[in-house]
Symmetry: C2
């Protein structure tokens, strides 16, 4: 009786599920969670979350960059960036200097030395999904998503 019930639900839910799949809220979040998890696996080798890793790479590329700039380029809020920096600071991978109202973020030597490994993680992550989706398809989708995100900004 329990099995029949489940089966019955599945049929009915099929219709509902299709509605969900058409919904940008669901699809975007489902994909983001899946992607996040995949990325986490890749970056676990350097014991960083993807956010921390991307922030660190940005700081290495642009030593002295300010939190607001970081927030803009990573599509995060300044407060989130502060929290990410605090964690990287506690791991001695970046450090901050305050001049007036500005804060400058620099990589430490330890942080800079991690760059090759960071790139390796990034390559691995890319390879993981390109293997599944193909290169053109992946890039096209990524660009399309971020374009839509920009359009929705207002």
């Amino acid at each position: 009786m329990y099995k029949y019930k489940v089966y019955y639900l599945c049929i009915d839910l099929k219709k509902l599920e299709n509605e969900y799949r058409k919904c940008l809220y669901f699809s975007a979040n489902a994909l983001a969670r899946k992607t996040e998890k995949l990325a986490q696996e890749s970056w676990s080798k350097v014991d960083l979350t993807p956010s921390h890793a991307y922030l660190l790479m940005l700081v290495i590329d642009q030593p002295g960059i300010q939190p607001t700039q970081i927030a803009t380029y990573l599509h995060l809020t300044p407060s989130t960036v502060t929290r990410l920096i605090l964690k990287l600071e506690s791991k001695k991978l970046v450090h901050r200097t305050m001049e007036g109202k500005m804060t400058n973020v620099y990589p430490t030597t330890k942080g800079s030395n991690l760059l090759p490994k960071l790139h390796a993680c990034q390559q691995e992550f890319f390879a993981n999904y390109v293997k599944i989706l193909g290169e053109n398809e992946s890039t096209r989708l990524a660009l399309q998503m971020v374009n839509v995100a920009d359009k929705l900004k207002g």
Copy 2:
């Protein structure tokens, strides 16, 4: 001098930003956050987050549904579903019955009565992004994203 520095950073970052935009992790998350925010605005009228609202609609559509089923259809983990249900229970919008190891979730009268308003919020949310992106474009992108999410599942 400060302005020059920023400008300088912007030029250099342009290249880096393009790299980010091609990255599925970034694009998916950026779009998810933007979409989440848009959805939150729409559902604030019934004082629910989109997740809670979709869960409630699902429960109204399928009274007696189990958390695991809910998790599957909403692309969430069972533990997250438990937490969402707890909140909806505290608002007297759903209630649970336990039979053996199964839990069944039902809408309360108050919950069911909210359905028209929930649909209105959903319509408003759809309208908001369809207005910006067009109907075909939105649906196509949503379906594509969830398909990719499914492919990445393994």
